[in-house]
C-alpha cells in the first residue's frame, strides 16, 4: 500500500495533479459553499460555458489558455454581478445567451483545430472535461497560487459575506457594503471556476463547486463547520478521484463526478433519516 503510494507520488504528473488539484479543490469547496448558500448555482454553470469559449478564444488569439480563461470569467462574472444575473423570469434570455456563447466556443474550437496540427484536436475535450493529469508546470504554479489566494480572500470576507447571504436587508442596514462585497464575491467565483475548469473541466465544475457544498449543508447547518466540511469533501473527491484514475485508467473527471454524486445521495439519505426522527434532530442540532 505504502509502496504503491510511493510509486504513484514518484511520478511528476501525479505530484503535480495532487498539489494543483488539492489547491483547486479546497478553494472550490470553500467558494462553492457560498455559491450554494446564495443560490447562485447557475451562475457557475454560465461561467463554465464562458470559460470554455474564453480559453479557446485565448488560444486562438495566440495568448495563453490561462489568460483567456481568467480574463473571460472575471469579466462576465462582474457583468452578471452588476446586472443581477439571478431571477427566474429571465432564464430564457440567459439560456439563449449562454447557448450562443458555447456556439461561439465551438467556432473558436474549429478555427483553432483547423489552423494548427491535428494534435490540437483534443484541446476542446480537455477544456470541457478537464486535464488534471497533464497539467503544465506553469498551470500547476498558477493553480496553486490562485487557489491559495482565493482561500485566503474568501476567509477574509467570510463573516460579512455570510451575514449578507443570510439576511441582505439587515446587512445593508448595519452598514455592510453589499455592492462591493457582491463584486468581490463574483470575482472569487470567477477565479475559482477558471481554476476548476482545469481540474474537472468546464462541464463538470458542479462536481467541485456545488455538490460538496450541498453535501455539507445537508449534513450541518452551522456555517463555519459547513465551510470546512465543504472544502474537505471537495479535497477528498479530487484526491480519491486521482488515485482511482491512476489505478483504473478511466478519466479522473468521471471518478470525481461519480464520487461527488454518491456522497450527495448519501447526504440526502442522512437528511431523510433525521427528518423521520424529529425528536433526535431537535436535541442533536442545538
Amino acid at each position: 500500500m505504502i509502496q504503491s503510494l510511493q510509486a504513484m507520488l514518484a511520478l511528476d504528473f501525479m505530484r503535480n495533479a495532487f498539489v494543483a488539484g488539492g489547491c483547486i479543490a479546497f478553494a472550490a469547496g470553500l467558494v462553492g459553499y457560498f455559491v450554494v448558500l446564495r443560490n447562485q448555482v447557475f451562475t457557475t454553470d454560465a461561467l463554465g460555458h464562458v470559460a470554455f469559449t474564453g480559453s479557446l478564444g485565448g488560444l486562438l488569439a495566440g495568448l495563453n489558455l490561462l489568460v483567456g480563461v481568467f480574463g473571460s470569467c472575471i469579466a462576465v462574472a462582474l457583468a452578471i454581478g452588476t446586472l443581477g444575473g439571478r431571477g427566474r423570469g429571465r432564464d430564457v434570455a440567459i439560456g439563449t445567451v449562454f447557448a450562443w456563447v458555447l456556439g461561439v466556443g465551438v467556432l473558436f474550437l474549429s478555427l483553432y483545430t483547423t489552423s494548427l496540427s491535428a494534435a490540437s484536436g483534443n484541446v476542446g475535450v480537455s477544456v470541457l472535461f478537464g486535464t488534471i493529469l497533464s497539467l503544465q508546470p506553469t498551470q500547476v504554479v498558477v493553480a496553486s497560487l490562485a487557489g491559495a489566494a482565493t482561500v485566503v480572500a474568501t476567509l477574509a470576507v467570510a463573516r460579512p459575506l455570510l451575514f449578507m447571504s443570510l439576511d441582505p436587508d439587515v446587512a445593508l442596514a448595519r452598514g455592510v457594503p453589499t455592492r462591493l462585497l457582491t463584486a468581490v464575491f463574483m470575482v472569487l467565483v470567477a477565479v475559482t471556476v477558471a481554476e476548476a475548469v482545469q481540474a474537472v473541466g468546464a462541464l463538470l465544475i458542479f462536481a467541485l463547486m456545488v455538490t460538496p457544498a450541498a453535501v455539507a449543508q445537508n449534513v450541518s447547518s452551522r456555517p463555519w463547520l459547513g465551510m470546512a466540511l465543504s472544502a474537505l469533501i471537495a479535497l477528498a473527491v479530487v484526491w480519491t478521484g486521482l488515485v482511482l484514475a491512476f489505478y483504473i485508467s478511466y478519466p479522473a473527471s468521471f471518478f470525481m463526478t461519480t464520487l461527488a454524486f454518491v456522497l450527495y445521495l448519501a447526504s440526502r439519505f442522512i437528511l431523510k433519516l433525521r427528518a423521520t426522527r424529529p425528536s433526535q434532530e431537535a436535541s442533536g442540532s442545538s
Binding site: 447557448a99 484536436g121 463538470l204 456545488v210 450541498a214 478511466y250 468521471f254 450527495y264
Partner: protein, 284 residues
C-alpha cells in the same frame, strides 16, 4: 470553401447533391417542426430548465448507444424519457429557483456528463465523436436515424396535437384548469415525455449543449411577438425551421460547425425581437 453563384437553384443543387446533406435536411426539418412546437409549450410553461436538464442527461445515453452499437438516437430516447419520468415523479419540487433542488440538479448533471465521458473513453471514440453529440453535426445522420426521427416526430406531434388545447389551458392557468376538471398532473407528465422525445431527436442536429437554440429560443421569440396560441405555435415552428435550414446551409458552405450558426441565428433573432419590442414600447 465552395463558391456560391447568384443562381439560387444551382446553389440549392450544390447544397443537396450529397446524401448526408439530404439526410441532414430531412431530419433537421422534422426536428425543427417538433422542437418549435414543443418549445412553444416549454416557454409557456416556464420549463426551459427541464429541457436543459433532459438534454444533458441524454449525453451519456447517446454515448451508451454508440458503445452498444445501436444507434445513438435510441440511447438518447431511453435516457431522456427515463429522466422525464423522473422529473415528473419528483414533481414541482424540481424548480431551478429553489436552493436545495438546484444543487441536486447540478449534481445529477455533472454526474451524467461524467458518465457520458466514461462511455466515450470506453468506446475509444475520437474527439470528433464527442463534439458531435455536444455541439451537433451535419455529418452523422444515417438512413436509420432519419427513419427513427420521422417516427418520433410524427408520434410526438400527434400526441401534442391531441393534448394541445387542454395543455395551453393548464399551462396558462393551472389552478382554474384543475378546478374545471383538467387532469393537470397527467398532462404535465405527458408533456414531459413528449419533450423528452423532442430533446432526443434535437440533440442529433444541435447537440446536447446547444439545445436551447432550437427548443427554447424560437418559442420565446414567438411569445414576444404574439399572445395567441395558434399563431405563436406556427411562428415558433417557422423560426425553428428557418434557423435549421439556414444554419445547415451555412455550415455546409463554410465548413464551420452548424451549432455556431444555429445558436447565432437564434440569439440574433431573439435580440432583434426584444430590441424592436422595447423600441416600440418607448415610441408608444
Amino acid at each position: 470553401m465552395i463558391n456560391l453563384s447568384w443562381d439560387f437553384l444551382a446553389d440549392l443543387q450544390l447544397l443537396l447533391q450529397f446524401h448526408f446533406m439530404q439526410n441532414a435536411y430531412i431530419a433537421g426539418t422534422l426536428v425543427a417542426i417538433l422542437a418549435g412546437a414543443a418549445g412553444y409549450f416549454v416557454v409557456l410553461r416556464g420549463q426551459s430548465f427541464a429541457a436543459h436538464m433532459l438534454s444533458q442527461v441524454g449525453f451519456p445515453g447517446a454515448a451508451a448507444g454508440v458503445l452498444l452499437h445501436v444507434s445513438p438516437v435510441f440511447g438518447l430516447i431511453v435516457f431522456c424519457v427515463a429522466a422525464a419520468l423522473g422529473i415528473g415523479y419528483l414533481g414541482r419540487g424540481l424548480d431551478a429557483g429553489h436552493r436545495a433542488e438546484s444543487a441536486a440538479v447540478g449534481s445529477i448533471l455533472a454526474f451524467s456528463l461524467g458518465l457520458g465521458l466514461l462511455f466515450f473513453r470506453l468506446y475509444a471514440g475520437s474527439a470528433q465523436g464527442i463534439y458531435g453529440f455536444l455541439f451537433g453535426t451535419i455529418l452523422g445522420i444515417s438512413e436509420r436515424d432519419v427513419q427513427v426521427t420521422l417516427a418520433v416526430a410524427v408520434v410526438s406531434l400527434l400526441a401534442l396535437a391531441f393534448i394541445g388545447r387542454p395543455l395551453v389551458f393548464a399551462s396558462v392557468d393551472p389552478d382554474v384548469a384543475e378546478a374545471r376538471g383538467v387532469a393537470v398532473r397527467t398532462l404535465s407528465i405527458a408533456f414531459l415525455v413528449i419533450l423528452a422525445f423532442s430533446v432526443a431527436i434535437t440533440v442529433q442536429i444541435v447537440g446536447t449543449l446547444l439545445i436551447f437554440a432550437l427548443l427554447v429560443t424560437p418559442g420565446a421569440a414567438a411569445l414576444q411577438l404574439t399572445a395567441r396560441p395558434v399563431r405563436g405555435l406556427a411562428l415558433s415552428v417557422a423560426l425553428s425551421i428557418a434557423f435549421t435550414w439556414v444554419g445547415l446551409a451555412f455550415a455546409y458552405f463554410s465548413n464551420y460547425p452548424v451549432g455556431f450558426f444555429i445558436t447565432t441565428l437564434a440569439f440574433g433573432t431573439y435580440v432583434a425581437i426584444r430590441g424592436a419590442k422595447s423600441m416600440t414600447a418607448v415610441m408608444a
